[in-house]
């Protein structure tokens, strides 16, 4: 797997102060640090490069121009950026008129299928990405953050506003749901 670049860190704080003073070089560093990650995050949610580009740009624009709204008190800048991206994704879905919070039990997933037969290694990346989008909003988010973005459970918890335990439980449920979706697809 290719690296997505430097992960969020405490290094952001001095850069944020510089951006607040109008330092464009600092803004460029933060942009370079987060743009690819946010693009990757949004793309995993939407599956369309054009939309992912627009939303990633929108997210970075909001992040770097609305720093007056960001208070570094318990919430890292990285978490703030991801939340903006998440909200932008939700807004995008709403504008497109798509339902996003699909309860798993109402989705067309063959729960009776035997998941033990799933050949994980033979699944293509596209299969995985597509199946992931059949999950609920929170399930998608936790899997993308933990496995596509390679964040820790603690980092994902801060972004999602949950406890680490809740994220771990959600992750377990999400993996189970994904397995059932994939199994349903391979049987169809």
């Amino acid at each position: 797997m290719q690296p997505l670049g430097k992960a969020a860190s405490d290094d952001d704080r001095p850069l944020i102060e510089r951006v607040r003073r109008g330092d464009q070089d600092a803004a460029r560093i933060l942009y370079e640090r987060y743009f690819d990650r946010i693009y990757n995050y949004v793309y995993a949610r939407l599956g369309r490069a054009e939309d992912a580009e627009d939303l990633a740009i929108d997210t970075m624009t909001r992040s770097l121009t609305r720093l007056d709204l960001f208070r570094d008190q318990g919430v890292a800048f990285s978490s703030w950026v991801y939340r903006i991206a998440h909200n932008a994704t939700i807004d995008h879905y709403r504008r497109q008129g798509k339902a996003i919070l699909v309860p798993l039990e109402s989705a067309t997933i063959p729960v009776s299928a035997d998941p033990s037969e799933l050949a994980v290694d033979q699944l293509s990346n596209d299969d995985l990405r597509e199946a992931l989008r059949a999950l609920t909003d929170e399930q998608q988010q936790v899997l993308i953050l933990r496995f596509f973005q390679d964040l820790t459970a603690a980092q994902a918890a801060r972004i999602m506003g949950k406890s680490v335990g809740a994220v771990q439980a959600l992750q377990h449920r999400a993996l189970g749901s994904l397995e059932r979706v994939l199994h349903g697809r391979t049987n169809n």
Binding site: E53, I57, F148, L175, L178
Partner: protein, 242 residues
């Protein structure tokens, strides 16, 4: 570990191995241009301190909104945008206001970078025809910058040397960007256009290195001149470092 946990662990590992989808270079550059414009606007908004001054500025802004809005919107427009022709008009006005050789040189280098950004964006959108036009524009601007250098050789050799050095650096950076772009496209027409743009950029350096014609007239070299330079100036090695 239960069989279920083992299965889910395998699935988690498979998810970790999914290659990340990266944005195109054009999208990244376009994004930065838009973010930078917004950051600049945000910074200038914060710098306005006096309420009365803010009011006056707001009134002035409102007065020029209709005309200025379209002009400003055109600044970031791309070749496939309806506002793009307006961008060309604005650029021409800027060029007409550049009087000194240094200003003219900076103007042409700035436009060269703009054309390159446009080309990257057009390739990202699979508009090879418009990308080729933008690349041609890039070369025209580099050649114009080279002609400014050439024209200064007799009147101000020190300035000419300084400008030539900047041109060398700019073309080397452009070449790196073009090489990166070339490595990412598969369309033969796009590859050919990029290859031609790289070759013509190197020719612009040769143009800059040529002495001005002895009769003091206009430099004789055009963008299609493929003749070698006189060797007075080192042509940079344009191979990307990465």
């Amino acid at each position: 570990m239960t069989p279920e946990v083992q299965r889910l662990e395998r699935l988690a590992e498979r998810l970790r191995s999914v290659d990340p989808v990266m944005p195109s270079p054009g999208a990244k550059i376009r994004g930065w241009n838009l973010v930078l414009a917004a950051v600049e606007q945000s910074a200038s908004g914060r710098s306005r301190s006096h309420p009365v001054r803010r009011l006056v500025l707001a009134a002035v802004a409102a007065a020029v909104l209709l005309v200025g809005g379209a002009v400003a919107a055109s600044a970031d427009s791309l070749p496939d945008s309806a506002l793009y022709p307006l961008k060309a008009v604005v650029e021409n006005v800027r060029g007409a206001l550049a009087f000194s050789p240094s200003d003219k040189f900076a103007y042409h280098l700035d436009l060269a970078q703009t054309r390159l950004t446009e080309a990257e964006a057009m390739i990202a959108r699979h508009r090879v025809d418009l990308a080729a036009q933008a690349l041609s524009g890039l070369n025209d601007q580099l050649n114009q910058a080279a002609l400014v250098v050439q024209a200064e050789r007799l009147s101000d050799p020190a300035l000419a040397a300084s400008l030539e050095n900047r041109l060398v650096q700019a073309i080397a950076i452009h070449d790196q960007q073009l090489a990166g772009l070339q490595g990412q496209v598969t369309n033969p027409a796009a590859i050919a256009a990029i290859t031609q743009a790289r070759d013509r950029a190197a020719q612009a350096l040769q143009t800059a290195a040529k002495p001005t014609s002895s009769d003091g007239g206009k430099p004789s070299t055009t963008s299609s001149d493929k003749g070698p330079g006189n060797g007075a100036s080192a042509t940079p090695h344009l191979t990307p470092k990465h």
